[in-house]
Structure formats: structure tokens, C-alpha cells
Amino acid sequence: MTISIGRPTETGPRDGLGARLAARVDIDAGSLPAFVFNDREVYERELGAIFGRCWLMVAHVSEIPEPGDYVTRTMGTSPVIVVRDEKGEVQVFLNACRHRGMRVCRADLGNASHFRCPYHGFTYKNSGELVGVPFQKAAYGDILDRQRLRLLSARCAVSHGLVFATWHPDAPTLEEYLGHLGWYLDLYLGRAEMEVFGPPQRWEMPTNWKIPAENGASDAYHTAHTHASLPKIGLIVGGSKFAEAGYHVHAGNGHGLGLGMPTDELVFPSEMLDEYRRRLRPEQFQTLIQVKNSHCTLFPNLTFVLSSARLEGEIVSHLNMQLWQPRGPDRTEVLSWGLVEKDASPRWKERARRHYIITFGASGVFEQDDAENWMDITRNCGSPVAQSLDFLYLQGLGRQPATDFPGPGEVYPSKYSENNARAFYRRWLELMLHDD
């Protein structure tokens, strides 16, 4: 079955939305019209053009270690089952019965060899085959071709412990899609075996998904002001330029990150250094141990933050991932995971967990103030006069690349830059105007 997502009569660059975008977007001049952040037409196009085509992160492998383990997630707004089948392969299926579309799995997570639809009882193996149809002979005689009626499969691949999937049959390989970002994912996730603390925190924010995604890719600059309360309570350490020092990297395909460095002291558990050294290339290891913090958005909607602080007098750090799921022009569901080295000491792991929770979960003191901005921007972008504004993405225009950094991609010195935001929206626009 060929999947065609979105209304065929409405896509393409020459329609009304394409014209509206073309007339107002000028990324090279650092200008993006406010309306793209709260507009139903933009949102509906994105569900197909972005979330129907990109590789999307759906789970971490430590969530489904055993055959039969599954979690249910969404790709954009489309519900999927992420399951490790009996052969140990991770598979991603649309959570919709081929008979009449009922969800065949209604739990957040579990272990199952089969998924049985509650409506009429069609039963699928965890590898997707339709293996049971009640009273098949009486109901269908011999006209039912069960082979054709597997659960709809997304293309699926694993990298750095993350499970990704895409609906696009002609998408590049995941490796190509990640491109230069792989080098940096090594630092976040490849330096040691990582595990999540547990299932994600989930909540809904009244914001457009692109605002937090852009922030994660590009926006170190907001830290000094948005998070000005945190140096006062010790959760941010460093002088007034704590957010500037380091590198700003566009890793291609819209993926962007910032590396806060150097650090005064190692922010990782010392017991892990050997493993880091074993798993990383020397220049990666040398980079890693100088890192104080980092933020990254893997296009389109997965944000990583590596954060460190002194908590109760001792250094602590953790990695978190926030998945920004589109739920409307002005709504986003957040899935938030904390991660830590599997082999770190129990004490480090516990402190890292608490550090994650107080900083970047739903109650996190970073997250709270970020969200306040994102929500009010989204509301503003829904009003006609504010929609006439063109937002500024000027920082770093014309700046010279860094030459003293070993990693790949377009690297700039100083994290006070909006180059990654420009790259993010350049990629976004390309996909939005793409003629299928």
C-alpha cells in the first residue's frame, strides 16, 4: 500500500499557502512572518509535509528491551505502536486496524505477542501480520486477502539507542538523514550505554511546536534573561556570559546545536571516563570533557539538553530529551525523558534524576519560564496585527566560521547566534513548498 498523506488537491507550492509563505518569508535576510506560528493552514500542511516525511524519533531502546515489549506513541498526530517483535526487531505500526480503523492497542506500554482489535477481533502478530479473523469463512468466504492486511508499517531504524520511523518511502537512510549530527549524538548518547529513568513525562502546552524546537536548536541567547532566576539559586553556574561561550553548530538538514564550553570542572561522572574513552574518537573525547552544557534539536521536533549544575555543593549533570508533538496550531504535547549512563554509580544516577526533574521536566525551573514565553508568543501570533510582524533572526549573519573546533558541520564561535534557527526554517520551508 502506498501511503499518501494529506489532501492531494491542497499540497504544492503554487497554492494560497505557498504564495503567503513566498511573499513573507526571507530567511537569508533573517525574517520570518509571525503567522507561521499560529495558523491552521500552516499547521495542517506541516502534518503531511514535515511529519509525514521526516524521520521522527519514537522511543529509546531501553524502553523496550525484551521481545514483545511495546510502547504506544504518535508520529506527529498519527498513533503508532513501537514494538520489539519476537525476532527482536523493532517495528513501528500505525495503531489502526485494517478492517475499520480501531486502535488495536490501547495501553501506553506493555508486552504482547499479539494485538487484538476490540471491535471485531481481528488479531495481528507483533510483527504486523493479520493472523486471526473471527468466523472468517462465514463472514468472508474466500475473498479476504490477509497478506495485504498487515498493520501499516512505517520505515524504522535505530541509531544511538533512539528508534526513528518515517512514512516516506523515498526518505534517505537514517544515517544520511542525521548526517553530521551523528558526531554530536555520539557525545550525547554514544559516549556510554544510556538508559531512560522511566516512561516520559507528558503534558500539553498552548504553544506552537516550532517555537520550542527552534529554541532547542538555536537559542542560547535567551538563557541570560529568561533563566535569570537560576544563577541566583545556583542552578546555572558561571559569570554573566555563561550562555555565550562555546560553539554554535548547524549539522545539516535543519539539525542545530550549541555547545557550552569550556567548563571549569568535569560535569560527568568520573567513573565513566574510561568507557567514554573506549567509545569515542579522541577528538570527541577531548571535546566532551570540556563541555559544560549543550542544547540541540534534531529536526524536526526532538530537543536534547545536556545540563549541569552544582546541587547541594556537588557537580551533577544529566541529558534530557523533549519531543514536541504537534497538537494544533497553538498546542503541543511534550514527552520528556531524562537519561543517564547505565553504568554510572547509583548515587550519581539518583542525583542526575533529581537534577533532570528540577530543571527540565514539567515542573522544571528552566522549562517553566521557557514555556511562559512560548505560550504568549503563540497567542500573539494568532492575532491579525501581530501576524503582520516579521520576526528577527539576524544574529550571526555574516559571522566567520570557527576554525578551532574538531567537529563537523557549520561551526561558529559564540553561541549568541541565530544561524541554527535560520537553518531550521530553511529546511522547514523547503519541505513545506516541496511538490510531491
Binding site: 495501553a107 506500554l109 522511566g198 503534558w203 502546552m205 534573561h225 533563566h227 541566583k232 526533574i357 521536566g361
Partner: protein
Amino acid sequence: MTTELATDPRLWIEVHAWLDHEAELLDEGRFQEWLELITEDVCYGMPVRLTRERGAADSHRGNQYFLENAATLRLRVERLATEFAWAEDPPSRTRRFVTNIRVQPDPEGVRVRSYLLVFRNRGDDAGQEWLSCERRDLLRPTPAGLRLARREIWIDQSIVGSRNLAIFL
């Protein structure tokens, strides 16, 4: 109709008053006074809730929305007192409706379970946010009165229906 009461009425009323007083402090933003109601060894958590088939564990303590001790609770309060805590400045209007209080004396203190319904409204948002949960507390008697030694918040959604958890529950 004079059956034996399972609960000592005086204790029940005292706990009632304690929880109502706590709600008042939080709803009025009197966070410093609220901190005086916790013990030094307080454990304050809020597990992730899960949708599972009937009978399976429907929460997870690995990831929690809150996982606080006295030090981190104080940090949070300290932050609110700075002039940069945008998420709650201007403050939300909150109302913590406390009902279904059940009290169980225990060697460690008083085990209290209560239902909490939180109304929250911010700025010129005409919408309303609601949080529904159960709190499972351990209140420990001290010379200064009952003090919160343990709280676990069971939120009634797997996707929390609130923009953030910038408030205490």
C-alpha cells in the same frame, strides 16, 4: 446509630484544618510559611501515570513530575522570590479544593490521604486549567504541630492537562 468511629474526630478535624491551612498558604503565595510545614527529611514526589490494562501497574516512580527533598523545595521557593520567575510572575490565580480526607494513625505519624482539585488561571487567559489528584501524605507530630514528612501526588492524567507544574500540589 452510635457505632464506633474508625477515626478519632479530633484528629480528623485537626488534619482537616492542617490541609486547609496549607492550601491557604499556597493559594496566597505564602511559600516561606509553607516551607515551615515540612520536615527536614521530607520526601515529595509525583510519579508518572500510565494507561495499562486493568490490574497492571499504572504509575512509574522512575520518572516523576516532582521528586523533591527539603533542599530542592527551598530552591524552588527561593526562585519564586526572585524577580525573574516569569512562569509565576505575574502569579497564577490558584484554588486548591481539598476533599475526601482520610486519616490513619500510624507509628510513624499520621497517614493522610486526600483528594485535591486545583483550579488555575493566568493572565488574561479566559480558559481554565484543572488538575485532579490524590495526595498520600505522612504528617509527623512535632512540638510545633503536624509537619509534612512525605507526600506522593497521584495525578489523574497520563498527559498532564496543565501548561507546566510551576505550582506546588
